[in-house]
């Protein structure tokens, strides 16, 4: 009788302590989550009409650099299908819009106008003008941020139909 009582007390204590520990861990995890204010400040509007062809513009979205590159007609003509699929097309103009962080370890690649490609100084990775990796170590193309086309402007952080189409095709990341 005594033994079962003690056993019961031990299990009850263990259960209460276990629930408390899980609850405390969950609270600690939540306390480290990005704050709502951080998440809410996540929209940037970019005016694409002011872009010059083959000149890289760097904008900022959620603290990250955003590459905006209007391509020249020659660049567009020389592209293959996979490259064109990543372009944002407004009228006749093709744009690359991507997060300007190397997919290796997050350095910012530099744009080389003469070679129309990106070179990362940290570990030597390269990307073409559509943000597709052409030289290791980067394992994947530059990430295309969620966007919505609004006339000649782009809202980053909101998913428009063009972005959804790219996402379904699996080419945004």
């Amino acid at each position: 009788m005594n033994q079962t009582r003690r056993g019961f007390m031990g299990k009850a204590f263990g259960a209460v302590a276990g629930v408390g520990a899980v609850g405390a861990l969950y609270a600690m995890k939540r306390s480290w989550d990005p704050l709502p204010s951080v998440k809410a400040a996540g929209f940037t509007t970019i005016d694409l009409s002011s872009c010059t062809a083959n000149k890289l513009i760097v904008e900022k979205w959620r603290g990250k650099p955003i590459f905006v590159l209007r391509k020249t007609a020659e660049m567009v003509a020389a592209q293959n299908e996979a490259q064109t699929a990543r372009d944002i097309v407004i009228g006749d103009d093709h744009y690359l819009v991507a997060i300007g962080l190397c997919t290796h370890l997050g350095c910012i690649p530099a744009y080389r106008e003469d070679k129309t490609d990106f070179k990362c100084a940290c570990h030597g990775g390269e990307f073409d003008s559509s943000g597709i990796e052409t030289l290791a170590p980067p394992p994947s193309p530059l990430v295309i941020p969620p966007f919505k086309i609004n006339g000649a402007t782009l809202v980053l952080g909101e998913e428009g139909p063009e972005y959804s189409k790219m996402k379904e095709a699996g080419i945004v990341a």
């Binding site: 989550d33 990005p34 951080v38 100084a121 030597g124 170590p137 394992p139």
Partner: protein
């Protein structure tokens, strides 16, 4: 209520209530240290003193440092460096000690490896020591964030990105660690907390464990000799100190220990006052800027060897190699299959293994600092493969070793 006699002295009063005499006997007066040791046995005390120096200088820096992305850089580079009386000294003491402490840790580690001081009851000393190495690494990294210069920011970016686990792309984990999409206010605040509270507390607890794990197996000696500490202690206590193989931790051993510490401190303060620059990266004197990456991102010298193991491989393989390098030293007592506890130079193939490992880590360190181009890339790649290869062959060559 326990019975207490009236005490006749302060010592007796304390002894009744705290057992200070027992404590002193167990921890110092009758804690026996072999005579057959050399100056390398003083590195533990050198480390303890350096940790004390880091703690004291850190307390003074803490009184003026501002953990805020807009204020942090100036609070270090203007307020502490130019306004606070002797603020510059605390900063240089803290930075130099943070760098030198790793040099001593590496010497301490390789001394242990050379003399086989991780075997036969000393496994827990080794394991707690490697946990201390991990804790010190985390402490160094979190501290490096605080001046919020370019190298702080970009090292923070690159190192936290490692937690996306390569192709698994766990970006949610990275954002959770940062508390933001990029290193920002939440990131600086939490790394400040880790640096000044959580990790130092963990380090102090681990130091307690490290010392505790040493007390029963005792310190190793230059020949790995198994000493009967009871017999030798009796000789010592009966007055036959010359014939005894041991001396008392205090005051005998401590006085020799502190002599080495004194020489070390001369070297240390020479660095602090005349050669502090090596611990101050010029790139970190530019304020953090999320839109400009420095041309080369490299860690402090003490992380270069593991960085070089990460660098020459593809992303996923690099991460696996890096993770391997981080944990493999912990397993040394179990990967060394030889029963011999003697210096490496008497251990057949292990002798070559020891020097190859030491040399390889120096090569990795040198290559990690150089830009990853041409011949340096190749040397780094080979050295990384050698590092992994050496650990793979260790159980086999030690298994073959003849029992001495």
């Amino acid at each position: 209520m326990a019975h207490f006699e009236k005490a006749n002295s302060l010592n007796e009063w304390m002894d009744q209530r705290l057992g200070v005499n027992t404590l002193q006997r167990v921890l110092a007066k009758e804690y026996w240290i072999p005579k057959d040791i050399n100056f390398l046995w003083a590195m533990g005390m050198v480390l303890a003193i350096t940790f004390g120096i880091l703690l004291i200088s850190g307390i003074f820096l803490l009184m003026y440092y501002q953990p805020n992305v807009d204020l942090a850089f100036d609070s270090v580079n203007y307020t502490i460096m130019q306004e606070v009386g002797f603020g510059w000294m605390w900063r240089h003491v803290h930075a130099v000690a943070a760098s030198v402490v790793f040099l001593i840790i590496y010497i301490h580690m390789f001394t242990g490896i050379y003399y086989g001081s991780y075997k036969k009851g000393r496994e827990l000393i080794w394991i707690s020591g490697m946990l201390l190495f991990v804790a010190f690494s985390a402490e160094a990294f979190s501290g490096y964030m605080l001046p919020w210069g370019q190298m702080s920011y970009w090292a923070g970016m690159v190192i936290t990105n490692l937690f996306s686990a390569g192709s698994l792309e766990l970006n949610g984990v990275v954002e959770w660690i940062r508390g933001d999409y990029v290193p920002a206010q939440a990131f600086l605040d939490r790394f400040f907390m880790l640096h000044v509270l959580l990790i130092p507390v963990a380090i102090m607890a681990l130091i307690g464990l490290h010392f505790g794990a040493l007390r029963l197996p005792h310190v190793n000696n230059q020949n790995g000799e198994e000493i009967d500490f009871e017999v030798e202690a009796e000789k010592y206590k009966s007055g036959n100190k010359a014939a005894s193989k041991v001396i008392a931790f205090a005051n005998d051993f401590m006085s020799k220990d502190m002599f080495v510490v004194a020489i070390y401190l001369v070297f240390f303060f020479y660095l602090v006052f005349w050669n502090f620059d090596f611990a101050m990266d010029p790139v970190n004197f530019d304020p953090a800027n999320g839109l400009v990456t420095p041309a080369h991102i490299y860690p402090e010298w003490y992380f270069l060897w593991s960085y070089e193991i990460l660098r020459p491989f593809d992303k996923d393989i690099g991460l696996i190699a890096f993770a391997f390098a981080q944990v493999i030293f912990v397993l040394l007592p179990f990967l060394d299959r030889s029963p011999n506890t003697v210096p490496a130079n008497r251990r057949g193939l292990f002798k070559f293994w020891f020097w190859a490992m030491l040399l390889d880590m120096i090569v990795l360190t040198a290559m990690g600092k150089l830009p990853p181009q041409g011949i340096f890339s190749t040397i780094g790649y080979v050295a990384a493969l050698v590092f992994i290869g050496l650990w793979i062959i260790l159980p086999f060559i030690t298994k073959l070793e003849k029992k001495l």
